[in-house]
Symmetry: C2
Subunit: 398 residues, 2 copies
Amino acid sequence: MTTDFSATKRMFDLPAGMTYLDGNSLGPLPRAVADRVAHAVTQEWGHMLITGWNKAGWMDLPRRVGDRIARLIGAEAGSVIMGDTLSIKVYQALASAVEMNPERRVILSDTGNFPSDLYMADGLCRTLGRGYTLRTVAPEEVMEAIDETVAVTLITEVDYRTGRRHDMAAITERAHAKGALTIWDLAHSAGALPVDLAGCKADFAVGCTYKYLNSGPGGPAFIYVAPRHADLVRPALSGWLGHEAPFAFDLDYRPGRGIERMRVGTPPILQLAALDAALDVWDHVAMADLRATSLALTDRFIAGVEAACPDLVLATPRDHDRRGSQVSFRHPEGYAIMQALIAEGVVGDFRAPDIIRFGFTPLFIDAGDVDRAVAVLARIMAERLWDRPEFKARAKVT
Amino acid sequence: MTTDFSATKRMFDLPAGMTYLDGNSLGPLPRAVADRVAHAVTQEWGHMLITGWNKAGWMDLPRRVGDRIARLIGAEAGSVIMGDTLSIKVYQALASAVEMNPERRVILSDTGNFPSDLYMADGLCRTLGRGYTLRTVAPEEVMEAIDETVAVTLITEVDYRTGRRHDMAAITERAHAKGALTIWDLAHSAGALPVDLAGCKADFAVGCTYKYLNSGPGGPAFIYVAPRHADLVRPALSGWLGHEAPFAFDLDYRPGRGIERMRVGTPPILQLAALDAALDVWDHVAMADLRATSLALTDRFIAGVEAACPDLVLATPRDHDRRGSQVSFRHPEGYAIMQALIAEGVVGDFRAPDIIRFGFTPLFIDAGDVDRAVAVLARIMAERLWDRPEFKARAKVT
């Protein structure tokens, strides 16, 4: 398959005049979603009511959608299931992993991880007590820090601020050599670049779907458990839909088969319907093409900005193997620069203290969009258009 | 306000020819929902993209919707927030409560509780270790079982099978007298009958919204924390949106103010939009009217069925104070009887081993619906219409 990205671009409903480089925060609306969600509301919920759980396939949706995502992250069929939020899935994976490695007390992560992962790990350690600790090192020290005390590593492959990418295969190999398990957070990987969970022998992975997978605000998360572990993990979040027979209403919990046990409560059917429709776009995409085009776009953006904006300092690694699908620059006035960009219709985002961040999704971003973004940014920097009071007043959510 | 239930009935989109007595499992579609969800998809997500978090008020939606539910359950403004599933909220409330009562090791629940609550409590005890135990007694033994060893009670007010209702005020008073905290599961209470969390001095409450609140399949759950506790609880599920300053991206967790700290991850905006629209119906409802009408409907149904169907044994308490808004009968062939009813357009549901269950929601069920359901059930029993092979083959989900 050769991917036609002009065709995928037409599958999105993008606002006129906007260059949207924030798909790494919230992906845009795929055209197929509105009808699919309306169908779920009116034809399924409205007409089928309670029978929708069977007749409309709602009960199987978390598994069926999980299989569609599995293909994009190099996971085995039947190894991924949808539900909850990424933070909950982090907790669930961590709680399972530490129980599988009962002699050890350390969860290892890095300071480049998304803070919620660290918060959830910290909360779990407090609940576990008994000396469980979150050890956080600098990203470049992760390999060295994996030793015989580590029960599990909790690493986000692609850094949400800089776009720096960890070496999943090497870290996983090192972890296994030291007797540790691995949890990979794919928030900025799934749909951004090829991932090979099975090939890397990853143990667990988690991710969200509202970024590069375009499921919409608050779309459900996913969890991957390697098939070799799936019948061994004992879920800490032992909800009824992860039970072997939920509708037997037994008083005692018995985990379901394989990945099914990672279900917790009732799945969010409307959000799953949106995600299911959003995933149709991927039927037309070869991941190798996506990566090649993403790298071409990010190279083009880096070259353009560096040529025109000497005050912006590249925060993203230049090496292709060491970055995801975003480009970030540092500048002390980053917040105001991003506000000025947004006012001109070039939408990226800002991450404290000084990072402006641009996501490049070949599905709906092309070279023309890159050139426009470069030109607008160059003008803002050359004419100091960011130096206005209205761009410096910080909004509550950026 | 005097409630006009013929007006609320017109606010629902009910399938023609169906008498839907399963709103206690999945509420029907309120007419306002489809447009509101379509607006959230197309106008908010589609046009505002990332700025929807501020411009469309997505970030505040869990709190704003929580306040609308607070009014229905006798909770103080600012004490309820939406998110996750009921099972997750049970875990979150339990983990907070046991930490507030650190000298004690017992979670007390009863065998009439919904199994997922018990499973989640069991999972939490395993994660906590250190002697934490779930003690489960018969529903009628709860009062007696609350002693000085109990850290927290986890009680569902209305039994999902029988409709039996616990005495929230008495149990809460007894728990406090013995130094225990209380968590009330309102799955079959919120929107079913008046609840007075503040008046009962409840400590925590949790509930789902897809039953009597009609939010649709997989609608988000809610959690209540009494204002006297809200700035003291330390969340175990310490997600970034419960942080004091989520967008500071600090490496260390600091809980947000009050109920805000019970947020975890990114809220499900499409499901929240559906719920928000569904709650409009309640602007026209006085809870006292709802209760009076619900009791009249359930009395009418009990009297009609008992007169016509001597083989069905009432499982629901007759005493008004001791029941919710559903009526259940027992029969060894309950499953087949319910299938026969559904085939005739009278939709209730079956709960193993022998319970047929009927929910009565005055919002869209009136005396004519009750009479029709009685007549159909009477004919099925009199003519043994349930005794056919097609009604006895069990589906996967009932």
